[in-house]
Amino acid sequence: MSWIAGVGLTPFGRLPGRTTLDLMSEAASLALADAELERREVEGVLCGYSTTLPHIMLATVFAEHFGVQPRYCHAVQVGGATGFAMAMVAHALVESGVVRNVLVVAGENRLSGQTRDEAVRSLAQVGHPEYEVPFGPTIPAYYGLVASRYMHEYGVRQEDLAELAVLMRRHAGDTPGAQLTEAVTVEEVMASRPIAAPLKFLDCCPVSDGGAAFVVTRERPGDDGVRIRGCGQAHTHQHVSEAPSLVRFGAAEAVARASEASGMAVSDARYAAVYDSFTITLAILLEEIGLAPRGGAGALARDGHFGRGGAMPLNTHGGLLSYGHCGVGGAIAHLAEAQIQMMGRAGPRQVRGVPAALLHGDGGVLSSHVSLFLERAR
């Protein structure tokens, strides 16, 4: 058993003058305060990576800077899936009794700490240095390739994908700290400039500065809490050239493993937190997991199914597409929002009671998948 005892999230966007360590520290302080835990009580520290602070020991660099001396501490790297992978590690660590609590933290000045070209170039290096990168791909190009095949097979239209961008922007509209809050329409998404066909500017998440953290504990934090019931992963490839399929990925397998570990089914979930680096990422993951029929995610979004008042509220903070994407912290924001919604403390964004939630993240080019089932226990 493990509990998400506290979460901390900074605003995402352009936050000039703040370093990776500043943003990590800010998020960590917020999460510890939320969990009512003192620095000296922290036993485990997990962190991800930062493209603006590459280091072979980022977790201990952070621990020293922040002022903690954990008994368990290291970094984790699974691209965009890192945040949820750390939740899985933290869950296993407290459940097995290695530590009583784990502070999971991420932060990066990905927007203001480098030029946009540097950000685009460093991220494109998830491609193969010899067989892919020389062709001048970008992350949107890898996903553009996937999108072309997936849309071809399942009859998805660009307008369907645009619905997901519209939805995430609507959710960010009144979320404190969101980077992009001005409403957009399907027509505006369709008219936005081409990036990597069929993906256009508004199909892509922004690059952000930001930090996000959470605390996982062995002890129930109060009368009421959100616990991690079970987790699962699947890793099918690294490079898009080597993906076994561009229409079926490891997401369903990861969810099946999380389901087995937790004894919970997708149908138990009343809230979904799903990785949305691009509109196509979100569509594929929703459809692969079974939260939408193949080719049907856009239509469900248009019908309000994934809205705050819908049957399956999704990324109610605005997701990567509109709250923003600062790297590892991006998915942690999804987890933070899920915990906040489940605890009933989302204020004006609050959806109706969420007894259980399904979280899913991917890293690389739909390469690595991590799923979690959360449950509110009273």
Binding site: F135, T138, A141, V146, I195, A196, S241
Partner: protein, 108 residues
């Protein structure tokens, strides 16, 4: 003449593109190096409008493909504009940012 190279395992018959010193399916050492005919089918296609570097910006927009080769492996390559999924294509080579890279045209 430049050709697209791939590898084949004499033990289990697997074919693959990213060169290595063993078969990734069965682990056999010393896979054979072979040259592809250059014939294939477009599996996926995108057009890169936003290039990753200043040097590549003058090439944009450029067409990027995943091609299923006749020999049974898949690779990333450039393509002529206007190619679509399922188009039959054949490989040529061109200079791109200082490298000689495969670029596919519609097969006759």
């Amino acid at each position: 003449m430049t050709a697209i190279a791939f590898q084949r395992c004499g033990g289990c018959g697997a074919t693959w593109y990213f060169a290595r010193g063993f078969c990734p399916r069965c682990g056999s050492a010393e896979p054979e190096r072979r040259e592809a005919t250059g014939r294939g089918t477009v599996h996926a296609v995108t057009v890169v409008s936003r290039a990753p570097t200043e040097a590549l910006r003058r090439h944009a927009p450029y067409t990027l493909l995943l091609v299923d080769m006749a020999e049974g492996f898949r690779l990333m390559a450039h393509g002529e504009p206007g190619l679509a999924i399922r188009d039959a294509v054949r490989a040529e080579f061109h200079e791109f940012d200082g490298a000689t890279l495969p670029r596919f045209r519609r097969a006759e």
